[in-house]
């Protein structure tokens, strides 16, 4: 018998034996399908398990990210060297423009201060901000969110705005004890109330899983030019007013916003500890604790944490 099998191999016959599939395999498939259904209906148990498990694997993922950092840096540097010439020319042009703007800004700042003094304007209180590390990036089909390595223990709460570089990146949608999930501007469930241009025309920035979210509900006949500034309106209370989101861009028959923030998450993001009003009937663990962030802000004013920094939110 063994001779026949050996002969069979020599002729290059079947090299892979048929494999049986155990009942366990089918059980695990049903289990996975069950988990998926629970996730779809956002069952509290599923959310709790996922949040706790993300906190559990965060140190492992963070360690892997640290190991990958030198490679990432090499790739980043190589990409920069390829574009250094054009980047230099762009920066020279920008510098010339900015020097003119700087002179204008200093004049306007002095005038603004004078008018504020005359009107006895009460300035906005600075809001506490904290810089957090990204421990898991965006991958797969459900990718328009990232996980950061800080959570409720560090004062992060549902709805707080998150920045990358100079612009708005997204907001916190789920805060575990040691990790939080940040929904990006580009996610198709993201909606942000904004104002467009100098006339502050109200509109809504709607994510559609692309790098340039759509601008909808812009009043017909609004006189806004391409490149106009898009800032948060603060209408929903989720975001403070005046945070720069990006610039207007027309794309065939769709109006889009070019985000100022790169939607490819870097290593770090900044979370503004802005107090967000809790919607009625919201889960307690997902919502901010009213009054607590204000108390924390007051405490931070007298004894700021080493990792936090002050951040003005005025436009």
């Amino acid at each position: 018998m063994a001779g026949v099998q050996h002969d069979s191999y020599q002729r290059g016959a079947m090299r892979r034996a048929p494999q049986s599939v155990s009942a366990l395999h089918f059980f695990l498939m049903f289990l996975a399908a069950g988990l998926l259904i629970l996730a779809r209906v956002e069952h509290p148990a599923s959310v709790a398990i996922a949040t706790a498990a993300r906190g559990f694997i965060a140190p492992v993922v963070s360690l892997v990210a640290d190991i990958a950092r030198p490679v990432r840096q090499v790739v980043h540097n190589a990409a920069r060297y390829l574009t250094v010439e054009s980047e230099l020319q762009r920066l020279e042009r920008e510098l010339a423009t900015l020097q003119n703007l700087l002179e204008r800004a200093s004049t306007l700042e002095a005038r603004n201060a004078e008018l504020a003094r005359l009107a006895r304007l009460v300035g906005e209180a600075p809001v506490d901000a904290v810089t957090v590390a990204v421990v898991a990036g965006r991958q797969g089909l459900f990718s328009q969110s990232v996980t950061v390595g800080a959570g409720r223990d560090q004062g992060l709460r549902y709805g707080q705005p998150v920045f990358s570089g100079d612009g708005l990146f997204g907001r916190i949608v789920r805060a575990g004890e040691t990790t939080a999930q940040v929904l990006m501007l580009s996610d198709n469930s993201s909606r942000i109330a904004v104002e467009v241009g100098e006339r502050q025309t109200p509109a809504l920035v709607v994510g559609d899983d692309t790098a340039r979210p759509r601008l909808v509900y812009l009043k017909a006949g609004s006189n806004v030019a391409e490149g106009a500034k898009v800032v948060t309106s603060g209408a929903s209370g989720s975001f403070p007013r005046g945070i720069l989101v990006g610039h207007l861009a027309a794309e065939s028959d769709v109006v889009r916003v070019v985000p100022l923030s790169s939607l490819v998450a870097g290593r770090y993001l900044t979370v503004m500890k802005h107090e967000v009003p809790a919607p009625p009937g919201a889960e307690q663990d997902k919502m901010p604790e009213r009054g607590q962030s204000r108390e924390r802000a007051r405490a931070a004013e007298t004894n700021p944490e080493a990792s936090s920094r002050r951040m003005g939110v005025s436009p």
Partner: protein, 174 residues
């Protein structure tokens, strides 16, 4: 030796999963490729019949990918297990020689594409970026293709093919 034979594929799949979730600074399109890499490693072992790829490992790695990619729990686990189910039922003739295994790889890529689009579209109640899925899954299959072409069967694999021990192990641990 049996223990090593049983555990090596699982360890390799876990290592590939850790590599796949690391932020390498890859272009945006890579997000369609990376979560498939652990299954691609599993596919090599499944097709060759070398070693054992236990279903709980596929399930665990799938859940790990769900957690690390902020996806819904169960998505990648179901994809991995579904694809493994199809591959384990491929007829023996299909994986005979290089051309047969290329056919197996093509079938697996097709199954993964269909599973991903169908499941994600059902989950979201809207069509997902199917072009990204097709491109990403096809690209993820390239390393398997290259490894399969370069893989020379070792003494152990030849013995297994001769005595059909792979089937025994699969029945016992699979």
């Amino acid at each position: 030796m049996k223990f090593v034979f049983a555990i090596v594929p699982s360890v390799i799949i876990l290592l590939v999963a850790l590599i796949a979730v690391a932020p390498w600074g890859a272009p945006d399109g890579a997000r369609f490729v990376m979560p498939l890499l652990p299954y691609m490693a599993a596919h090599l072992f499944l097709m060759r019949g070398v070693g054992v790829v236990p279903s709980p490992v596929l399930f665990g790695v799938g859940v790990f990918m769900d957690l690390a990619t902020n996806g819904p729990l169960g998505f990648w686990a179901l994809i991995y297990l579904g694809a493994a189910l199809v591959v384990r039922h491929l007829p023996g003739e299909m994986v005979r020689g290089v051309m047969g295994r290329l056919g197996g790889l093509g079938a697996m890529v097709l199954v993964l594409i269909v599973f991903q689009i169908a499941l994600a579209s059902l989950y979201k109640f809207e069509w997902v970026d199917w072009q990204g899925v097709i491109a990403g899954t096809s690209i993820a299959g390239v390393p398997v293709l290259l490894l399969d072409l370069l893989w020379r069967p070792g003494r152990r694999e030849r013995q297994l093919n001769v005595t059909n021990r792979g089937a025994e192990h699969a029945r016992r641990f699979g």
